[in-house]
Symmetry: C2
Subunit: 255 residues, 2 copies
């Protein structure tokens, strides 16, 4: 089906064009897209032109293109990220009202943590997390929760792979990581003081669906001196159980 | 470029597959997609298969597919909806803290109102708005604001087109709509009591960029008896000017 000389199909080429966009390059020319997606310039120009025609990409005043609102709209309406996020939002707001820093919701995606929502106070402390941004599993409180309750194969894959040092305090020793994961399962929460930024600490709890499977991590990011904040842990645990009740009541994840 | 007998290109066919998803059908089989996107079943199956392989669609336990988190992630990271939404969010939260019903952010998209964010209190009243959902321009407070400050050609197009009666109180007479738009410009806000649902009232204000162009509408939805809530109008106007200041400070829309 319309395979190129390199054997990739038109669908794959469209995907490569879309994948060339990220938060660091929200606006690109067709030539930049060609280079980043390793497509012949003429192919990239044609695909970009067609995507602009259908509204999936938008051209700005300078002639560069960006992801179109139309694509955001289609994707957001149909995505399970939005379902979970909408359902969790009121409970996240309640956590945020107590903690008043950053409150976040994340899921496991391709061996990384993908953040699907973040609420932040206007004067909140440092936090690298972005909506639709990712972090490594071993280096964030959300990742530690998702990893601790992940299938054993995934745990072993992460434990046997390279463990990148994001900050001086990131756990990079597989034995220490293994015992940290056991601790997370025992305590029902993960804290990651300074694992990403020395001045901040994450605290995360698992969010379960109606059958008890961990499907997300609910977390806060606090200034480092609040790393041991027991009220935050309690508030997070209470919110997570209420999200579970809401999931069980609506059954939205099985729809 | 791989045109089908009906003359549509592969890119257009991919777009039609993606467009067959919406909030009413977040999960579909490839055959349903074929029917809805009017593609030959074999074509739909092939495109769906390739989109699943690249992670842009996800297959669930039943074999049906839905929009993949990967596509949501790409789209959300690169979209101007997220930039505006992130920037406006703290100010929306402040409106919501006072109004305690629904607070929303919307933009003009293809002659309709597209909602890019909604915050709702857990016990808030009726509100049909959905994130990534649309409403007609003449029938919502956000739409009236966006229309009142839209280019004259768009105003004339809407005024000369059919004005659908969403509720008994929707303005469907072009002359009355014209004078309503003049009122919105004069007062600097739009109220739409019962225009969509008899029990609710929307109040919206324009959000301007640094150059004074209206780029969004900030709104609340309140129970009908609060339709004349002057505090809501003041809070909305204050939040809108602060969003404008933030836009001007970061210049994010011109990036």
């Amino acid at each position: 089906m319309a395979n190129s000389p390199t054997g990739d199909s038109m669908v794959q080429r469209v995907v490569r064009v879309l994948e060339s966009f990220d938060s660091g390059r929200v606006s690109q020319t067709a030539s930049e897209i060609a280079r980043r997606s390793q497509l012949p310039t003429s192919t990239a120009h044609r695909i970009v032109g067609e995507l602009v025609e259908t509204g999936l990409l938008e051209r700005d005043e300078s002639g560069a293109v960006r992801i179109g609102l139309r694509l955001w709209e289609l994707t957001t309406r149909g995505s399970r990220a939005l379902g979970l996020r909408q359902l969790a939002m009121p409970f996240m707001a309640e956590v945020q009202a107590v903690v008043r820093e950053h409150t976040q919701l994340a899921v496991l995606e391709e061996h990384e943590v993908l953040f699907i929502e973040r609420l932040s106070a206007r004067n909140a402390g440092a936090n690298v997390t972005r909506i639709a941004g990712r972090l490594p599993l071993h280096a964030s409180s959300s990742g530690l929760v998702l990893l601790a309750f992940a299938p054993p194969e995934l745990q072993e894959a992460v434990l046997s792979g390279p463990l990148r040092e994001v900050s001086q305090e990131t756990i990079t020793d597989p034995r220490r990581l293994r015992s940290k994961l056991a601790e997370v399962r025992r305590l029902g929460f993960a804290s990651a003081p300074g694992f990403i930024e020395q001045v901040s600490s994450g605290i995360a709890v698992p969010v379960r669906d109606g059958s008890g499977t961990v499907i997300a991590a609910l977390s806060v990011v606090l200034p480092r001196e609040r790393a041991g904040d027991q009220e935050a842990v309690l508030v997070l645990k209470r919110a997570a159980s209420r999200i579970t009740e809401a999931i069980a009541a609506t059954g939205f994840l099985s729809r």
